[in-house]
Symmetry: C2
Subunit: 326 residues, 2 copies
């Protein structure tokens, strides 16, 4: 479940009362503990290591602050000179706690659940860096795209290489699979996605030292991008709740799918969660399908709804309506 460890869990909120968000990310003890909280409670097939997609951005030399209103980067990166100050880094030296968390998780759950790593995709990390935080219009990024394309290209290349390094380190440390979050790439028309976000994420994926470990690519608002995502090199496409899984299967033959329950349903009634999770599984027959939400769990999600989601996901399903390969 995306954002599986988090504020909807009372045991997580208890830990968070004592430390800041960044302290939690950097403490191997506490981050391992909160990563395991949902595993103990719901017995999922996967354990996601607790971290944030901006941890590598901070390690590149950017100032990142986590406030109550989401992350802020008080010195937005909008010029060549600002990009020059960012640097590729060795994860084992700069973010050793991420490797430590993953190797501990591997020891704790290895064999019973997959250990999952992740990283922000270049386009999404560039959004934060250029906008200085979350954005609705992406005006600064689109200005750079239109007027300083070479500068943006250089930033995306750098972020792609950082993502490759980070994910390679996560896999070497114990992750069984990794996911790239391109949360904001759904903002782009398909033509612009192919020009900007796709080459960058494809470069990141191509650079991962991964043997056979699967790579998952998530894009929020990806209904118009399925065919393009299938060209990224990712093994599994993680799609948001607005794209029917049957539609995605037709458009991305041979790719695994992940998703895609509306996380907003977990604020409602368990019966409806069970019904919708079952309907989702009937669309794929559970084959080539990693059952998940279509976006992260929301704070305020009801524990009985999360329970209903995992219960419904474990029920046997009928044969797939559409084959995995065309």
């Amino acid at each position: 479940m995306m954002r599986q460890a988090g504020r909807y869990l009372p045991e997580y909120r208890e830990v968070r009362q004592k430390v800041s968000f960044m302290e939690l990310c950097r403490s191997a003890d506490l981050a391992t503990e909160v990563s395991l909280q949902p595993f103990r409670r719901f017995d999922p097939d996967g354990v996601i290591f607790f971290s944030d997609i901006l941890v590598p951005v901070a390690a590149m030399g950017a100032r990142v602050e986590f406030g109550d209103g989401g992350p802020e980067l008080p010195e937005p990166v909008r010029t060549s000179a600002a990009i020059e100050k960012l640097h590729r880094f060795d994860p084992a030296s700069e973010v050793p706690f991420t490797g430590e968390i993953l190797s501990r998780l591997k020891r704790e759950v290895g064999g019973r659940a997959a250990v999952l790593g992740f990283c922000g995709a270049p386009w999404t990390l560039a959004s934060y860096l250029v906008e200085g935080g979350a954005s609705r219009s992406f005006a600064a990024l689109k200005t750079m795209m239109g007027r300083e394309p070479g500068t943006l290209r250089r930033l995306l290349d750098l972020l792609a290489d950082v993502a490759s390094d980070v994910l390679s380190y996560q896999l070497a440390s114990g992750a069984d699979a990794v996911q790239l979050f391109d949360t904001w790439a759904g903002e782009l028309a398909a033509e612009d996605y192919r020009e900007w976000a796709l080459p960058a994420v494809a470069r990141a994926i191509a650079g991962i030292r991964r043997a056979q470990a699967p790579v998952v690519l998530y894009v929020n608002g990806c209904g118009h991008l399925i065919e393009a995502m299938a060209e990224s090199g990712a093994d599994v496409l993680s799609i948001d709740w607005r794209v029917p899984l049957s539609d995605a299967r037709r458009r991305a033959p041979g790719r695994g799918l992940q998703g895609n329950l509306d996380p907003g349903l977990l604020l409602g009634e368990p019966e409806e969660v069970a019904r919708r999770t079952g309907a989702m599984l009937e669309e794929t027959g559970g084959q080539g399908h990693v059952v998940n939400l279509g976006h992260g769990v929301l704070p305020g999600s009801r524990l009985e709804c999360v329970e209903a989601f995992f219960d419904a996901a474990r029920r046997p399903v009928r044969a797939a309506a559409l084959p995995v390969t065309a």
Copy 2:
């Protein structure tokens, strides 16, 4: 052009320095003046009256404040009791300035350009009321959807009737066509859109006293909703920049289309704006197509880019690739 009058124009910013946003909306003199500013500068085919979709919400009895960070409703509507305090109203008594602006615009540009009215669609107005402002997750609204469906249904019905009244008054006052903005309905999976947002907007459209005046329905992030939008009763579907027009035409035969250039392109270079506007027109052959942006103009848009957009929209086009009716 959606949000045609606004902060990207120096002459608008000059007016706004002197008055607050709400004062501008309520002053027939000033609102007429700023509505005409883009008409004088770019000679478009349509003049949109200056107002805000929350003007009717304030007239229903809700507290609405316009700050720099967008509108805020400090008393969110989340209970039956809170909904009881809201009321349907007579636009001629409560928002007479909207009628006055439209009748003046009709006198000023009638015959040379269409005068356009608008209103928020029920789902989007409910989002603001329930969330207390703009939202990313719509957690409060989805909680109400899941746990208090009858309450939400009552709120949507009330908002639909208000929208009908408001748009009927705008047409009676001089508007030639009206648009419903369902900006946030693209958040919903198709199943939920059909259950919640669509019946409410269809009720609003059915209730408009309009003779033959066309009704336009805009939904941001509507790629998965085109077929459902075509069942709303709207004559024209206004689509965001991520849906190819040719795709929308196939999926909504017999409906006019409006859109859909990415407004972010207006931050870039005029040559690219001209190229992309031309490509958009080639998709429809300009037939049954109201050339527009896929969302509102962004502050910071370059005047030379806006100029390039209008110029390209006026160029003759080849025949349509796909017929308007199937």
